[in-house]
Symmetry: C2
Subunit: 443 residues, 2 copies
């Protein structure tokens, strides 16, 4: 096994790098590749040469780069037989999936931030790359600048991970933060986020939890050595969180956060879900603000680890891309590839109905004798044990009926049992409106 | 480049692993290798076979392992020509250095937790391993279970790290914690730590900062791509921290922590130091308790990252060892080695005298007219700008002389200037006793 020691990077031909996409992250990556060329060459052992950047239109800002690099012919770019590394920063499924597979087929290693594609069809990509003996690295797909993919993939690989819990979407974290600090309702907080660039014009992927679910699938696959796809992840966004929910959380000494929660049970199953949850105000995740991400990892030998940092943004995400790019480049210099995927464990993925957690249930009821007892027995009949109860009278409604807001938190209960409670409560005459349910984590 | 896809681990001969040491960490590592043999084999692609464990004496607990594995002949163990991986968990310089070099010479890769050896003579080890084309991995040498070595070495390798700051020694963190929460003085807090097993019978390596300095040297080498040796690190332990210092910190809204501080300046120099420092009570490091470690990394693209977790202990450190063991084993299965060292940058290491930081200076003075003015002008004459001043009268001493405690915090000042201030103050007749100085970080 030969290894070059501080070789002269100029003694060998450069590694040819192509990019798909040159947006917020891509322009930063291209800038670093250009401006840090010497340092990168020293760290890799050979120079990196940007040979092409595929974009949607040439009518654009060239970000200080050589306009000749830019092309709209992405198919020709990935079909080059001499490409060493493809950096994909476009996102989405097609045409990117086909382009990546073509690049791999032509012998290129891949660095990508594409969580949606990895969560939906990572299998095809990893299979192709293993067959060709090339790398796929994807640190930028999860948690921006924070090294979490590599630690799970290569550092904690001798340990047994039992749980992963974290804030992995900056948009929803910012919105919930705003609702918490200003008392704003969801629509206003979303508008504010969009104005400041923390949310997209079409915010669906973030606020409905698709982005978080894709990331959770990737984390779960790594943590549990088991293929977890985006479709396997229980997904619930934050669009139904109200200002009243936020207030109720505060009253309970909690904060509402959008969490990715991955757990392994002793019996060998795993559960992977993303949804809003109440966390105790003292929990470290409660103080993770704005666009920051934070991920807790619990494993048998290591205990509890926490990783925290900027979860999004051009420069932070570029940092993750560059780390992968140098690693993949170093591998190519030495004629090797990294360890590939490890999905041998094939652990069963529990359906959401089987998951157990705490719940906070809030509902408006008619303020009459027997209502509390009736509500309580609904819980009991579904095997859900109540931990705390709070009932507060409301002003009488238009018809003059006195109502109250009844709020209960439960001990650990089964999701299917809680769904049974909600269904039955909503069928009862003493209920006004819908039952609000927020899961409780780490209170 | 061929890569085996989910191979049958039993189809090939196992990888032969030997251990030096079977103490708190070693016994845990041996246990995991044994109990998780199937999972490890699936993740690596071949089985691991423990072929020998060298210990000081065979008159010992065999930790549930096969007594036949144990030997006192470490030289014979490392001289085996068929060893794939040596796991070194003894610590110290000799005879371990010679044994490791012998193992490398015989073609074995090395996994070690030996911070002292790496900080003192990493160069010889890395040079030998590069020549032989084998790996040296050392995640367990710094911050216990927290993946920090690998993220610096392989994830942030496309970025420019500008600062690293952290709590890397659990013993001193525990002692300072105790002093802070109970008001105990150093000696009592140390005794408490020893009683609970958080400090050794001979606590010098921890309380005098040797352990932290070795870790800082390792982190600095990785962060700045520059060889930093233990001797290059400014080292000041916590033995002179008093209960009064702790109180003064609290009054200033700060907490005293033992920190490793690594910084890169714009002009290209780097500074590496370990010493007690005041951090603002709101700073995340202020709340890192007991035996936990936490490390902040600031880099140009990524921004601010934080890593936190158990910094010591058998199981947490074993987690780091196992992660390295699987990675090194995977490399051997594929006939490759990892990227080795990157120390091309050769950045100048600033002497401590050139470092700038904030300072908190506390001294007892005679309570007479003109003393405050005289003290203040000492600061001014040495180009140190004062930020806050606090003077509190003390009860008259035995000779009836009225004294006061004068406490000043400075703006960012140069170490050599502050040393000039202290020297001059201590020469003045209005000073009683020594000047207490604690550096201030992140207030």
């Amino acid at each position: 096994m030969n290894r070059l020691e501080t070789p002269d990077p100029n003694a060998l031909p450069p590694l040819k790098v192509a990019m798909l996409g040159c947006g917020v992250v891509g322009s930063q990556v291209a800038r670093v590749i250009t401006e840090q060329a010497d340092d990168l060459a020293s760290r890799i052992g050979r120079r990196l040469e940007l040979v092409g950047i595929a974009v949607r239109s040439l009518d654009r800002d060239f970000a200080g780069l050589d306009p000749a690099l830019f092309t709209t012919d992405s198919e020709a770019l990935v079909a080059r037989g001499d490409l060493d590394i493809l950096v994909e920063l476009v996102g989405g499924i097609e045409p990117v999936r086909t382009l990546i597979l073509k690049a791999i087929e032509n012998g290129a290693s891949v660095v990508t931030a594409n969580k949606a594609l990895l969560a939906q069809d990572g299998e095809a990509l990893f299979s192709a790359s293993e067959q060709q003996g090339v790398d796929i690295y994807f640190e930028a797909a999860v948690a921006g600048a924070i090294p979490i993919v590599r630690p799970l993939r290569e550092s904690l690989v001798g340990d047994e991970i039992t749980a992963v819990m974290g804030i992995v979407n900056g948009t929803t974290n910012y919105i919930l933060d705003q609702m918490t600090t200003t008392g704003a309702d969801f629509d206003d907080a979303l508008a504010q986020a969009q104005e400041l660039g923390y949310a997209e014009a079409d915010p669906t992927a973030d606020v409905e939890g698709y982005d978080a679910a894709a990331k959770a699938a990737i984390l779960g696959t790594l943590a549990f050595h088991t293929r977890v796809r985006g479709a396997d992840v229980y997904r619930e966004g934050i669009t139904r969180i109200t200002a009243e929910d936020i207030q109720a959380a505060r009253k309970l000494g909690c904060v509402v956060k959008m969490l990715a929660i991955l757990k392994a049970t002793d019996s060998g199953e795993v559960s992977v879900r993303v949804h809003p949850a109440m966390v105790g105000a003292q929990h470290p995740l409660a103080s993770v603000g704005g666009a920051y991400n934070a991920i807790f990892v619990e494993s048998r030998e290591a205990g509890r680890l926490m990783f925290m940092g900027p979860g999004a943004g051009g420069a932070p995400t570029a940092s993750a891309v560059m780390g992968d790019l140098v690693t993949v480049a170093r591998n190519r210099v030495r004629g090797v590839a990294g360890p590939g995927e490890s999905v041998y464990a094939k652990r069963p993925i529990s359906p959401m109905s089987e998951v157990t957690t705490g719940y906070f249930v809030r509902v408006e009821v008619v303020d009459e004798p027997g209502v509390l007892a009736a509500a309580a027995s609904v819980f009991a009949s579904h095997n859900v044990s109540v931990q705390t109860v709070d009932q507060v009278a409301k002003a009488a409604d238009e018809s003059g009926v006195a109502t109250a807001v009844l709020a209960l938190s439960t001990h650990e209960a089964r999701e299917s049992d809680i769904q049974g409670v909600i269904t039955e409560l909503e069928s009862r005459p003493f209920i006004r409106g819908e039952v609000s349910v927020i899961r409780v984590e780490g209170r």
